[in-house]
């Protein structure tokens, strides 16, 4: 009941924001609204008991994707050209489709209906068997890391592909030594000139990094895991870049290291799969990693989550730097 009330409330706001995003012609405003959209979405996920997803949506939607969108906006015109009226056809198509989908929803199970088919099959098995077979409390992590580890490997590769793509299209900043001088010559300022963000930022960065590690290694017990940790880790470094300048950030984690992180995480993940094969199990069957299959599962999940975290952090940072370096 509370869920529904919260839900209706948040979702209505969500719709309003979404429509505003589409109507807004200033892209910067649209991007900031997109941040609100993500937060609303995340809050809604949380209300719907999806803690891991809520964390991810917040880290990705409100954090990383805002940064990326702003990075792209910095390189392109910030305003949408006003469009002529008369997109009626699109509107009609969209309205009709909506009506069809809404019509079909009347056949859906109601929100929270315990008798819905999704709660009868497969899912109960996960909830029952996870403590026994994997031995960790967070069932989401168990499913993600072991039962559907193959999907997660795919997910890592998707991230890697995005990294490869951005590097391919925009290139990574190479030597950064000269750049700072040029930037100064151009009169570019970083937030380092502003005392309050700088001090607060410097104070926060260690905590954010620590928090990233917490999310990484606490993922078996609470919401979180490699992907969220990687995103938070990347956010911390991006924060560092924002207040100290990219050059500083790139001396902390060099471009070469970024590439190694991108590939290394994926290889670590895949390597686990290969090792399980060599030990006589199926691909990604962690049970063979230790004497006790349950221990093996836990080891496997820890290692692959680490792989996920490394790749995600590397890719997101590489993408950020690629965008940031392009405009200079």
């Amino acid at each position: 009941m509370i869920t529904i009330v919260f839900g209706v409330f948040l979702l209505t706001l969500l719709l309003i924001v979404a429509i505003a995003i589409v109507r807004e012609q200033d892209l910067f405003t649209a991007v900031t609204l997109m941040g609100i959209f993500s937060l609303l979405m995340a809050a809604n996920f949380f209300v719907l008991d999806a803690a891991d997803v809520a964390l991810t949506e917040a880290a990705v939607g409100a954090g990383i994707s805002t940064v990326l969108l702003l990075g792209a906006l910095a390189l392109t015109p910030g305003r949408e050209r006003s469009i002529p009226k008369g997109r009626w056809l699109a509107l009609v198509v969209v309205t009709l489709t909506t009506l069809v989908v809404v019509h079909a929803t009347f056949g859906n199970p109601r929100l929270g209906d315990p008798g819905a088919p999704v709660h009868q099959h497969v899912a109960p098995w996960y909830l029952e068997q996870t403590p026994e077979l994997i031995g960790i409390p967070n069932v989401v992590t168990a499913v993600l890391g072991s039962f559907r580890a193959y999907d997660t490997l795919g997910e890592v590769i998707v991230v890697l592909t995005a990294g490869i793509g951005v590097l391919f299209l925009l290139g990574l900043p190479g030597a950064v030594g000269e750049r700072r001088r040029e930037e100064l010559a151009l009169g570019r300022t970083y937030l380092s000139h502003h005392l309050v963000p700088q001090v607060v930022g410097r104070l926060l960065i260690p905590f954010i990094l620590l928090f990233a590690l917490y999310v990484q290694f606490h993922g078996e017990y609470g919401p979180g895991g490699g992907f969220q940790a990687g995103a938070i880790f990347a956010s911390a470094i991006i924060l560092y870049a924002l207040i100290e300048g990219e050059r500083e950030a790139l001396t902390v984690i060099s471009p070469r290291l970024l590439v190694w992180m991108m590939a290394g995480g994926a290889l670590l993940y895949g390597g686990v799969g290969v090792v399980t094969m060599l030990l006589g199990g199926n691909f990604l069957d962690y049970s063979v990693l230790a004497e006790d299959p349950v221990k093996g599962q836990q080891w496997g999940i820890i290692v692959i989550e680490l792989g996920v975290g490394i790749t995600v952090a590397g890719v997101l940072l590489a993408i950020y730097h690629a965008f940031a370096a392009r405009g200079r």
């Binding site: 069809v100 989908v101 019509h103 079909a104 929803t105 009347f106 056949g107 859906n108 199970p109 819905a116 088919p117 999704v118 709660h119 009868q120 099959h121 497969v122 899912a123 098995w125 996960y126 068997q129 072991s146 039962f147 559907r148 580890a149 193959y150 999907d151 490997l153 795919g154 997910e155 590769i157 998707v158 890697l160 592909t161 995005a162 490869i164 793509g165 590097l167 391919f168 299209l169 290139g171 590439v259 190694w260 991108m262 590939a263 290394g264 994926a266 290889l267 895949g270 390597g271 799969g273 290969v274 094969m277 006589g280 199990g281 199926n282 691909f283 990604l284 069957d285 962690y286 049970s287």
Partner: protein, 499 residues
Amino acid sequence: MSLATQLPALQVAVPLLTAPLLVLLRGPGLAWAAACAASVMAFVIAISLTASVMTTGAISYAMGGWPGPYGIVLEIDALGTLVLLLVTGASTAALLSGRASLGLDIDAGRQHLFYAAWLIVLAGLSGIAITGDAFNVFVFMEISSLATYILIAAGPDRRALTATFKYLIMGTIGATFYLIGVGLVYMMTGTLNFADMESRIADVSDQRPILVAAGFISVGLALKAAVFPLHLWLPGAYTYAPHVVTAFLAACSTKVAIYVLLRFDFFLFQDNLVGHTMQFAVFLVPLAILGILVGSAVAMVESNLKRLLAFSSVAQIGYILLGASFANEAGLTAAVAHMFNHALAKGALFLAVAAIAMRVNGLRLQDIAGIGRRMPLTTAALAVAGASLVGVPGTAGFVSKWLLLQAAFAQGALGIAAVVVVIASSLAAVFYVWRIVECAYFGNAQAPGDAAAVVTEAPLPMLLGLWLVVIANVYFGLAPELPVSLAESAAADLLRHVP
């Protein structure tokens, strides 16, 4: 556990894990060699999988040791191996022969990234072909799509960027539609495993969500498969991608989407939707026919070589769907066999185009005038592959066209209409292939001193790869046992799921 039992996992893992290694490599030569090695290995694995599927029947492999529907299970059947052969074969042929051509399009500093993306495409497409899990299909679809965008954006023309963007938008919409459909099916059945879905879907209490799911999945996959009228991304993407990439993608990428479409339709929707026994026939026949006609017609007037062939692909996709829409053994056999044979023909044609593009500026018909004298081997390959596309007897294209017509004849009045359409578009194919060949052999070459004067034969690896595919076209035209028997068992497999 022996190596043979691990082959299904290795099929995907080999290219998927070679790709990150390539990111680390410096130097285009090494990256190319590694990519080739991985691709050849994948091809060999695909061949051995095919052999074991043909002898012992379908193979399944539990990822992580978790049985379905709890874990992800790989299911390899005849149709899957056929698609696997296509994907790995096309990749191998294009990679082995395409190095020089790609070297012209992509600067050396970025080539290792390009080859990494190539392997990811290969892994993604193979992953789709062998998985038995609906959501896993989505993951691998996105893997291959994202990497495909990179490959296409590598095209030297700036229009490659806009074409890629268009493809990215439409491809993402397609994938998201698919995801919605899978979500709805999951909502009503509680499972993601194909086999499990199939056994549970008939008991679903309310069919409306399933019906909408069928709509979303069909439209989403049709977008990916470039089914008319959702083909708008295809001509641009094929035209402006690096030539070798076009050869690779044209041979297999849309077929993979059609493969998933067939699986969904015959495993889940056919006969399981109350009152919608034959949605395929009702919805797809007009689309297939329109696609065949429009694709052929545009190809007849198009003057850019790659664009012409791209529109011909739109028509050929129509053939495949037409065969499938008969929803019987003969029709499906024809459709599946045509997937294979069209891939051979189109792959060879685009490889030939890649070879020509290395030596000639521009790919309009007048640019290739008189090329037959300067590049006799390439042009001959182009002609033979063109014959296969037309369906001249003795080539692979003939076999599937025969099967398709044979299936259509057995369909009664509607079938006769289909026959007329297929024949008409074959004649159109004669026309547009002939325009190319005639221009290549008899067109007036540019004035001496122009670029054409120094045109020489394409480099040897390119020619070897090209002719290998061309010979495959002839071989499978005269001894079509492999594709036809695979197609027959694939058709039987699909129909087994329809009560």
